[in-house]
Each structure stands twice: as C-alpha cells, then as structure tokens.
Amino acid sequence: MTAAASDKPAWTRKHLLALADLSREEILYVLDTAAGFQEVSTRSVKKVPALRGRVVVNMFFEDSTRTRMSFELAAERLSADVIDFAEKMSSTQKGETLIDTARNIEAMGVDIMVLRHPAAGAAYHLSQAVNCCVINAGDGQHAHPTQGLLDLFTIRERKGRIEGLKVAIVGDIVHSRVARSDLRGLQKLGAHVTLVGPPTLVPRTFESMGARVTSDFDSILPEMDVINMLRIQKERMTASGFPSVREYVRLFGMNRQRLKRCKPDVLIMHPGPVNRGIELAADVADGPNSSILRQVTNGLAVRMAVLFLCQQAAATSSA
C-alpha cells in the first residue's frame, strides 16, 4: 500500500558478485540501506526478524576470520540460521567439485551462499549453478564487493561525500581484490583514484581502468583526502617482483612523518589485518585519522544490507 507499483525497484539482484556489475544508483542504495541497519547493532537486543526462517551458509575455501565472522554476525542479527562449511573437513578434500558441493548444500534448503574462494570467477560460476542467492566474499584477485562497499560507506560517513575526493590505494595492487573493488566503487561514485606501489606490484595497465599510477608515495601525500593502505601479504614477500620488507617500509609505509605531510583530516584506511610496522606504523593505525575499527563496525551494517537486499530480491522475483 506504500511504494507505488509503477516504481522501478531500486534493487533487483539476488547475487552480489562484483562492484563492476553495479550502477552508481545501486551502490548508493546499498549504502543508504546499510545506514538504516547501523542502529540495530546499538540496541540491547541486537536482532531484527527480517531473515527469520532463512538459512545462510558460509562457504570459505580460504582462511578468513573477520569476513567470515562479519557475515555470520550480520546474518544472525537478521535472525537467519547460519551454517558453516569448513573446507578442511569437507568432501572437497575427497575430490568433490565446488558446484557439486554447492548443489548438495542447496538441496538441504539454503537461501543464501556466502562464498570465499581462491579462484577468480568462482562466485560467478556458482551463481550460474544454483538457484539460491550468492554473495561473493572474495574470489581470487578478482573482487571483494562487500569490502569495497564498506570502504565506500566509511569514506562517505567520515567525509560526507565521495564525489571529487582524492583517494590513494597503496600496496600490492596487482594481487589485491580489495584494490579492484575499491577502485571500481570509487570511480562509479566520482572519486579520483591514485594507485601507489612499486612498479612490479602496480603495473601501468591500471591506467586503462582510469586510475593514476605512481611509485612516488611522498609526492602525492599532501593532496590526498583518503589513503587506503593495503595489507602486505607476507607469503608473497619471497616472490619475485617484491622489494625487501625494509625497502617497502621505507618507500611505502605510512608512519608519523608521512602523516604530517598529509592533510590534517586525511582518512587512513586499512582492510585488516594490519602488519604493524610494515605498511602501517602502530601509532598511525591507532591514531585519530585511522578508520580501521570503524570499517569493521560498518562492515557488519553493509553485510546486513547486502544479505537483506539480495534475499528480498530473490523472494520478490520468485513470488
């Protein structure tokens, strides 16, 4: 009796696979919805019945603590039942394929699958094979859309806008799905993105995606509104193309001296977990410019919004 029937639905997707798929309006709609969910986490009873009776399965084929917990808590705050699929104890170890595993799980009556997988495109592949909703929680080096959304949400919350902001993403860009999702989302919302890192980790090919690319971190510090420091994956440190830790810290680490050269209200972000003293000095990580913990808090609201919207779209399209 509200919403006139002629209104075009603001969200019709049952899957969230990559920010590249979304329009600017869709991204803003998720952010607005997430803002409405924030209040749920401040109540004494941190639960609403929006997904009561629905089943969410966390399928994580890669280690993850915060993303898995964040999705689990988000689903539980919406009153969904959550089951956890642990790869190490599963029959994928016995040779079952991802799709067979997923179809078997779906046959038990699952509504939403949250997938983290080392192969780029895994979430897309899965979405083609099952009828339930699929949320990409990170696929290889391709995309991590909920991280992108929570970063956008945090920037908008702290800066009041995204359009026109200058945002640097610093680190191992080429191997980072976070960098790709952030880049896509920021560009759609009108920010100017600079990718920073050693040329081996930030190839010039990213210029074709509309980003500025530089290996001179110090020169861009004064103009940035937001600096997102990516985690250095130590397991990659031994790979060729990677500088030594000491060299990396010297050229690309964010520390007190570099922070002094930034705008006073620069926002320092990090997707976590932080390697203290490598990409981010401890005092900066814990300082007033840092939004690291706020990102974690906002991630919960963003994931609640994503679970809610996708489930709602699925229920509406099948009704």
């Binding site: 009796m1 919403a3 029937a5 209104d7 803002a35 919004a305 509406t316």
Partner: protein, 179 residues
C-alpha cells in the same frame, strides 16, 4: 479520486485526535509519542505541540522503521529503504502513543508492536491513526481515530503531508480500472 480531507479538515481532525489522546493520557507515567515511518513519523512530530496545548507534555519522541519486521516483504517489492529506528529512550514503563497515517490490514501495526517491544516493555501502547479505512486482516483496533471511512480492496487511501508531499490532504483513489 475523492478528497476525504482538505487542509482545513485535516487540521481540525488532528486537533480532535489530539484532544482524545490528551484526555486519555496518564499523569503518573511519561508519555512517549512514536511515529511509524514515514508519514506516521511526520504526524507524530505534529502532535507534539498540539498535545502540549492540551496540557500534555510528551517526555519522549521516537520513530520506528518497521521494514525489517514486516511479514509482506515479498509483496511490497524491494523499494522500501531501511532508514532505521530512532528510539533514543527506554520505552519501559512509558505510555506510548503509536502514530500512523492509515490503518488498513493491521500488519504494519503488528510489525510496529514487535519492533517496539524488542526495545523495552512499555506500561501501555495506544494506537492513534489519522484514517481508519477498515478491512483489517489482524485483530488490531485503534484507540484514537481521526477519520473512519469504509473502503474496498481496490481503493487506495493516500495521506499527503506538507512536510513530505507539499500539501495537506487525504485522498481516495479507485484502482479497480487499473488492474
């Protein structure tokens, strides 16, 4: 299209509604006025000064977003933006006047009651609506009503408020030809 209330009639109706609420308000419990998003929110805000004129000072004002409590998400379509509930007081032991624009099936009110009770245990909850259009699907009845009007399922009752729609009026549309 039928005009049920024009600007003047709406003002008079709200005053009548306010007098009824004020007459029932207790003196030994704090009064909280809680609107259901979105037009119930606007109406609740308008009731505050009107109540004060009638000698009732509301101790609390709040807004309920019932989107997450609805039982008909699949039928309203994915258009409702979740804006969040804003109840920054503990409703426990308060006398709550729940305000909505139109009472129809009763499902919004059912959702609002659930949402409110999740936040605390009010002494009492009373329901005030500008328009009761009948055709309830749940055993829920209003305590204070501005206008009662019989409708059919193919009717739509639209409350427009200056703050949201630029005009104060209540209109009835006949949608039977549109299906």
């Amino acid at each position: 299209m039928t005009l049920l209330l024009d600007q003047n009639e709406m003002r008079e109706t709200l005053e009548k509604l306010t007098r009824a609420i004020a007459g029932a308000a207790p003196t030994d419990a704090p009064v909280a006025v809680v609107g259901i998003r979105r037009r119930g929110e606007t109406l609740a805000r308008r009731l505050l000064p009107l109540l004060e004129k009638c000698g009732v000072k509301a101790a609390h004002y709040g807004v309920l977003d019932i989107t997450l409590y609805r039982d008909d998400l699949t039928t309203i379509g994915p258009n409702a933006v979740v804006r969040g509930t804003e109840i920054d007081f503990d409703p426990t032991d308060t006398w709550v006047v729940l305000v909505d624009d139109v009472l129809y099936t009763g499902r919004s009110v059912r959702a609002a009651l659930d949402a409110l009770i999740d936040l605390g245990r009010p002494r009492a909850i009373r329901l005030a609506v500008l328009v009761d259009r009948g055709r309830r699907e749940l055993p829920i009845q209003p305590d204070f009503v501005g206008l009662r009007t019989d409708t059919e399922a193919h009717h739509e009752v639209k409350v427009r408020l200056v703050e949201v729609d630029g005009v104060d009026e209540v209109v009835l549309y006949d949608r039977s030809g549109e299906r």
